[in-house]
Structures are given as structure tokens and as C-alpha cells.
Subunit: 619 residues, 2 copies
Amino acid sequence: MPSDIEIAQESDIKPISDVAAELGLLPEEIEFFGPYKAKVKLEVLNRLADVPDGKYIDVTAITPTPLGEGKTTTTVGLSQALGAHLGYKVITAIRQPSQGPTFGIKGGAAGGGYSQVIPMEDFNLHLTGDIHAITAAHNLVAAAIDVRMLHESQATDEQMFERLMPKNKHGKRSFGRGLVGRLKRLGIDKTDPDDLTPEERRKLCRLDIDPATITWRRVLDTSDRFLRGVTVGRGPNETGHERETGFDITVASEIMAVLALTTGLADMRERFGKIVIGLDKAGNAVSCDDLGVAGAMTVLMRDAIKPNLMQTLEGTPVFVHAGPFANIAHGNSSILADKIGLKLADFVVTESGFGADMGMEKFFDIKCRYSGLVPNVVVLVATVRALKMHGGGPKVVAGKPLDTAYIQENLELLRAGMPNLLHHIQSARKFGIPVVVAVNSFATDTEAELELIRKMSIEEGGAVDAVVSRHWEFGGQGAVDLAKAVVKASELPSQFQFLYPLEWPIKQKIETIAREIYGADGVDYSELAEQRIEEYTRLGFDKLPMCMAKTHLSLSHDATLKGVPKGFRIPIRDVRASVGAGFIYPLLGEMSTMPGLPTRPAFYDVDLDLETGRVTGLF
Amino acid sequence: MPSDIEIAQESDIKPISDVAAELGLLPEEIEFFGPYKAKVKLEVLNRLADVPDGKYIDVTAITPTPLGEGKTTTTVGLSQALGAHLGYKVITAIRQPSQGPTFGIKGGAAGGGYSQVIPMEDFNLHLTGDIHAITAAHNLVAAAIDVRMLHESQATDEQMFERLMPKNKHGKRSFGRGLVGRLKRLGIDKTDPDDLTPEERRKLCRLDIDPATITWRRVLDTSDRFLRGVTVGRGPNETGHERETGFDITVASEIMAVLALTTGLADMRERFGKIVIGLDKAGNAVSCDDLGVAGAMTVLMRDAIKPNLMQTLEGTPVFVHAGPFANIAHGNSSILADKIGLKLADFVVTESGFGADMGMEKFFDIKCRYSGLVPNVVVLVATVRALKMHGGGPKVVAGKPLDTAYIQENLELLRAGMPNLLHHIQSARKFGIPVVVAVNSFATDTEAELELIRKMSIEEGGAVDAVVSRHWEFGGQGAVDLAKAVVKASELPSQFQFLYPLEWPIKQKIETIAREIYGADGVDYSELAEQRIEEYTRLGFDKLPMCMAKTHLSLSHDATLKGVPKGFRIPIRDVRASVGAGFIYPLLGEMSTMPGLPTRPAFYDVDLDLETGRVTGLF
């Protein structure tokens, strides 16, 4: 079989204007970015406000091997089957990948084989600049924090007052837009700065940020491990103000999580304003509104908020929008793309990051909670390979050849691994959603193996169906049976419910997820975690949903525990808050938020064919 | 008069497809980025190869006050006059501004009043992502450098060999694309890695970079002074490999200079490969080709190389492409935009950064040398205000009210300042190009003052004409007389010549510019500068043109010396090389390559009107 990039570059591709027209988008509702990408304006939601929503399908997976089990490929293949073979109007809604790892060790994120989003080079690099906009907005906040601390350290209250509210040429002062947020927070309702008392001036002008509490780092969309920890302020004019901090990869930014969870421009503006960057020396939260920077962030993100339209290899429409981390964030594409999609299509097929214990739980309890959308079907992707691993098969390591256990029939190993799949089916059912198991089939799988998965999924797991799918090799045609099963399941009534109510205390929410979804016996908190929970409760952030930052390689917090681990307790090392995005994220281990490059990075193979202008060597 | 953003947002704007069609671009030659921006494909150069070039006009200025003398506004106003009032086909070619300072203290860079490029929000923010692409490409190189040093420090020669050229599944090794450049440099012409001698393996696999010689920093398009100096590698897994470095603003990247000077994809690929990031421990240059990263850089920049099409307030076409620094780089927009423009239009009006001693000299000796294009006219922008300053007027400070000397008639002060203008006219004439002086007129200028400038420019300076222009207030209509003078001057024969030949030694080139253009008595070199000149000569970089990194606020190296300073010698503090871009840049002082934010940053005023979606407070 040809490589992914060969398949993608040889495919027939439609002008994106045709894809948009087929979807029923009006010409004035789209903005082109080259011939094969477009942004869709949010105004379409007003035009279609009265149209009933289509069916909402979430694609998730069992606990994967480090190789991944083909979730995006299945999402795309299923969509191709629904749209190009069964004649439904369908929209695929997936995340935009981070560009940095593309040049390191990671493969593309556009699906694979004959189930891909194209052009894959555009999908994997730059796209329409949304991630670049996040880099700009995020680092503007970081620059504002450090420079504000420097300026406050060098000025009296009166000097700060003079500089922040200078007299205009008529000798008049005004608060200006940048101070509106802070005035409101402080409960000062005066309109003339000259009426402020000295104490009010001090409060308004001096943020008094405690450097030790700053959680806002800087970001770059480059895999640069030397930026994980940096000392900033080493220039001669910043001497005495050096500070230890670091860079995360841009998709780990809270701004990315906001982009994914926002429901519109006004909501995004409000969320940016609420982002907490640290505390002041009295222990109060300091927000982007306090810094006066949330308006500029919104301006930088005003195009990024519009979903990006692309297409599959079979010409069905794809929304690519937002790509938050699946551990420290919720790992799901944007609410706005799904909302628009559900107005335009019979089916929206979206994907949740990592396994069902991570991405799906957050899809329901965070994304659907903020969107108000009701999902209809969960498609749970499983592979013979991963199930054998859960049954006790040898370790699967990326870049190493697979053990023969994985490429020869072994029903015993497979049966021993099935509980992982059954557990995830049960988890989905706890939310009241019917489950269709999609067995992403490889050439080495045997009929008996595939049949075993099917039978046990339905009979023991309670899946409404379980279907073998061969979309990688055959495109949409290979997923027609899966698509038919999904259509059927979508006609069942949805009895969707959240796992926990927001009013519960932080610990009760954490423990419910740990017990119900991970199968843990309980939760242990570090001293730091206890302190944070107390602090967030004091600051009023305890009514947010939980976004567990856990490994995806095990149902437990320990990546080496496969199958369905029993008799373990979840340790909470730290608890952090993304107040603007709207969740608390308890940390169950070390989460790397900045990848590195290997000795032989993927960029070694990448070049431009100067004759054809084509990208070569990208996967 | 309304503010710039009000004028811009209230203007009638044409779909960019109309602007492109009026220019004679074919639909398949443009790529849309929203309704008002498009990229122009380089293929248009093939189609129009046999069309004769239009006239090539460079807009430059006298030595400015810190407020700037309206060079971009004049460039746009002149274009509007030529295109919208005199009926010529005209293209304005200007630089893309850096986004970072937009949120600090800087005003917009889209012109002003009734001579602007629109939409000004798009012009000033993101545009089509070219600067973001540079950030990505630049920082990929930085990540590659640090991680390569780390990996080399932890591996034997054999391990490096194994990792860089692993056996494939057939047990066969290959060099792969990433090692091609280095093989060539080392003069190894073997095709099978297993045939390499141990010494060749070591040479090929070990770059042996000397950390003390690394000149490649990181970049961000954010004004973040705390990044001027940083220690990287402070994470626990990089302990022992910490390194002092820093960030520049993205437009200071050598990649930006390459973008501005390249003549096509193959040339850009080659220049990226030649970029020198530092030396190895034996004193050899280490290039991006040695790192194997130049192909990926080219892929990241494959869209950025296409010029961006926008429009003026009067609907004439504008190319916005590349924005290199005007001190450490050459400060001119791209060669490719000018080349395409000259095929499509009767006139290309382009702008050089800073005053004529800086931007214009580099336009001729660097940009025109690499492009092979022959300029026809220099438009030299002067203001009564700046000339009075040169005549000994009080200090002009941004943000402070102007002294009355500048707003009342004062012919004596003005006459005393005229030598600065006359000097710049003479400089342009040394290159064989006719000069038209454009007096950018303010409401407070008197007729007698304007007439004095006109008369002396022609009679004493030898300008072919000198015209008062009021394009800020009246748009193109206000610049019709200027446009007519430019048309007339463009009909004179061009006797264009460079100031120096490339074969001269580095010092002779520097001294020629210092004496002929700055009026210096001579040049003094620091010990460091002497060392660098010796080193660059040894490495074969001495045949490059010189790009002087000097203040723009004086003809000399000392910003406080106004008028035409005499009896001074130019000190060369350091000499650096942008080998990929293709110039040596001697440093005549400290050049800040990363701006900071003031206590009350411009972002304080910026927000999005949530009703209309319009940007507010941006200038």
C-alpha cells in the first residue's frame, strides 16, 4: 500500500467552495484560506437557529497501546461511509494537531490509509493559523505579567496612577478600557479617576502579583525540551527580576481549552477575562481582566474562533477546530464546530482524545455540559492487538517489531484482554448512551478473533452492536457496516446524564470519577493537593467540572497496569485550575507539556520537491 | 479628522478578487485568505516572463524625528494618486509590520489618514501568517541545535551513526535526506553508509558545535523584554546543559531577511541551507544543512514565500510581503513582490526602512544587487518639522507636545536644517538615480517654508523636482502633483550603479559607505570586530554586501548628532554575518532586537465590539 502522504497527494480533491455548497453553507458564510481550506462564520448559527440538530456521535477507544488504535482513522472512515456511501449529510469534527511534534517522532494526525483528511500537509502544518494566534495571545499575557511586576517595583502608587490614567490634552483622566475589568472586580463604581481615594488608587493600580504563585508560563508550537525550564529576565536591564519559568507546547495553553469550550465571541471574551494567572500577595486571584489584556486576546483570536472546513479523501466535509491536550485539558475539538455541524448535517461524527476513561468522560462531563448538546451514540474503537496486550501480551513499543503473539491467532490472550473493552462499554452506558464497538481490523486478525470480540461486546458488555471495520484499507466502503450499525443505534432514545453534579465538593467529584470510571478503590491527596483544593474552594472555583490529568495507557494512574486493574488507589499529586476554560485539573502524575526531539528527528526526511512544489517525507 | 481605524473601517472596500482581476491576475494565480487578502502564486512570473518591467520607484526619507516623517503614508498616497487619479496601473509594495509592538507603544504601520492600506486590523495582526511561519521555522532550528548538542554529549560515534542511519527492515542503511547537505560539505561521495571509515562516520555524525559560538537565538512576535536574556535547559532532564541565550522579535530573524531577498523556492531552499548558526570546535561554520533542517524550514515557509495582496483606501493594489529589521537587516520588502509587481503594473512604488542613509543605501546595494532590478526614481520624503530639528530646533520626543518652533513659521531654523535633505539627495544621485523630493505637509507649515524647501532642493540639491503633498488629509487627490512629478522623473534615463563592488575586502566596503553616505572621516574597529572580519574572511563570507546596523536618527552613529555631522569617525563594535540572507552586518552601537511594553501598553485600549465584531482601540 502507498504511504499516507502519497495517497493524500494522489487523491482527487474538490475546491472547498464545492464542499461548502454541498453542506448548504451560503457563500457569505465562508472565508477561503487557499483553495482547500475555509473558515465558517459563526453567523450561520443565527440563520439556522430553528433547524433541529442532527445526530451526535462520539468516537472513543479502549485503553490503547503506545501505537494508538486508529481512532481518527475510524472517525474519518465512518464519516466517509455515512456520507459517500450511504448518502447521509455528515460532518467529521476533529482536533487540529500540534505542529511541533510533526517534526519530532509523531506521525500525522489526519487519519491514515484511505481514511484521511486532506490536504494532509495543510492539516498538519499551520492550517489557518489558529494555533499561531494562540501562541500570540498567550505570550502577550506572559509579557504583560513580567513587565507589570517590573514596573510596579519601580514606581510609587502615584506614579502608577499617573501612568495608567494620564491626563488627556483637556487635562481630563479616564479609566480607559483596560481598567474596566479590575474596577468591577474591586467593586469601585466611580467614573472619574480623580475621585478615587488613595487606597482605591493603590488597589486599582497595583496588582501586587506574588511571583511564586504565577502559573502562566509561555508557549511555543515547537518541540523544544530546552524550554521546559528557563530563567527569564537575564538581560542587563532586568537584573534583579530574574524568574524561573518555562514554555509549554502551544496546544497546552488554557487559551486552546477556551477555544474548544467557548460558545461564541462574547463568551470567549468573558472566559479570557476570567483566566487566573496567579495570586496577589494577599491571596486573591489575579486575572487577565486585572491585567487589562483580555480585549487584545479576543482581538488576536477573532478569526481562530471560526471553525475550519476541510474534506476527507472521499470529499465529505470535515471541521478541524481546536486541539486541547487530553490530560491537562479535556482533549476534544470545539463546541462551536459541533454546534454548527449539527445544524448542517444528519450526523456529526466527533472524536475524543485518548481512551474512553479520559476523552469520553470529559466529552460528556465537560464539553457536553458547556455546550448543552446531547450525544446519541458512542463508537468505541478496539483492536485485536490492544486487547491481546491487555490480556497479558508482551510489551508493545513504538518503533520495535511486534511480538508474534500479536500477529498470530491467540484467542486465549484476546479473551483475557476483553474486560478492558467491557469496562469501557459499561462506562459509556453509565452516561445513558448506546455503544457500538468498532473493531478496527488489521490484516493479521483472524475471523475467530474478530468474532470473539463481537460476541462478547454484545452479550457480555451490552453494546448495541459490534462491527468489524476495514476503512484504513478500503476507505468508506470498508466502514459501511459500521455506519449502518451507528445509524441504527442513533435511532434509540438518548438517556444522557452527567456522572456528577457541579455542586458537589471537589473531592467528591474526583472520587466519583476515580471509582466509577477508573475502578479505583479510593483517592489519596498529597499535602499540596489538599492545600490547592482548600484554596480553590476559598476562591470559589470549586463548582467547576473536573478534568483528570491521568495517563491514557492504563485505566489506573500507573501506565504499566493493563487490562482492568483492581485494588488500587488514585494519588492526586497536585490540583490546578483553568478558570477561564472552566475546569479544575487534578494531576495524577507527571504530565509532560513540552515534547523533545529525538536524535534523528522526523524533520530529517522533510523537504519540498522544487519541481512540483510538493511536500515530501512528511510521514 | 477621524482616527485612522475609523477611516479604515468606514471605507468602501472591494473584494480582493476584484483587485486581483483589475491587475490582470488569473483566478488560478491567487489564493484567498478571507475576503480582503490573497496570496499571489510565484507561477505568475513564468506566465509574464516576456512582459517588460514597469517603472520602479523607491520611497525614502531624510533623517527622521522619533515621530517618523510619513514615509509609508506618502508611499500609499503617491500610489493612490498614480492609480486612482492619473489612471496608471500601480502597485504599492511595503513591509509587513511586526505584531508585537502593535500592543506596546507603536502606532500602526498601514499608513495614516486618507492614505492607508486596508483592512488595517488584518495588516497589523496575523495578516496571512507569514511571520508566524518564520517563528515556527526559526525555533525549529533552535530546538535542533540544543537537542543535537545534548544527544552528541550522551552518545559515542557509533551510537550516533546507528541512530542517524538506522538499518531498515531489509537490514540496509541509507543516508536519508537530512544528511545530504553535510555529506556534500564534507566532500564524501559514498552512497552506502556502511562504506564509511570510522573517521568519516565521526565527521558526518558529530557536529561538535561549540556552544560559545552559537549566534542563533530564539524568536517570538511578542514584545517581551524578559526574554532578551534567558537561561535555557533549566528542566531536570537537561541539567548540566543549561545555556545563556535569548529571544529576538521574529522580524529580526535571518529567515525574515531570506524571505525578503529570495528570488524563488529553489533559491530560498539554498539560502536556508547556508544559514550559519555557529562554529564547531575546530572553527568551521555549522549550517542548517549540517543540522538537516533546511528542508523542513522550506516546507514551513512554502506559503509565506507568496506575496500578500491587499488594497489602499482608494482600491489600488498593495503587496505586503516580508518585514526585515532596518538595522541588523536591510529593511526592505520582498524582491518577489517587486518582481511580480513590475510585470503587472506601470509603476511599483516601494518603500525602504529608516532614512536614505540606511534603507535606500541597502535597497540599492543589497536588494537591487540580488534582484537585478533597476530602479528609476527615488522619492525623498521631508517634513518642515524634521528639517527644523536638523537646523537646531528643540528635541522632539514621542508623546510630548511639540515646541512652538515647530508649529510657527521659522525660515531660519528651516534653512539651517536643509543640509540634511541636500545630503540625502546627493547620496541618491551617487547611485545614478533621479530624486523627487516629497514635502509631506502638515497644517502648520507655511507657504514660505514649503517654498524654501522646494527651491533649495532643486537649485542647491539637484533634485529633478520637489513637490508639496497633502495625501494624509486628502488621500490620492492630495498627491496628484507629486505623482505627476514622479511620472516625469521616471522618463529620465536610469544610470544606476552600486556604491561598491562585492570583491572589495570587508573593511573597504564599510569605509566606502561610512565616507560616501554618512560623511564620516573614517572607521575604527574594536578588537572583536577585527577578529570577526578575519574569521569571516577565512570562512569565505567576505564577498557579501555590507548591511550597516546604525541608528536612523542621525547620519552618524550618534543619534544626538542632527543635521549633517562633520569630523566624526564611525566605531564598529562588532561584525556579524547573515550568510543565508547574504550580508555581513557591522554593528555601530547597541541594537535592540526585542522591544518591551510600557506601563500602560497599547493593548489596554484594544477590544472587540461584541455587537459588530469590529476591532476597537487599535491606534
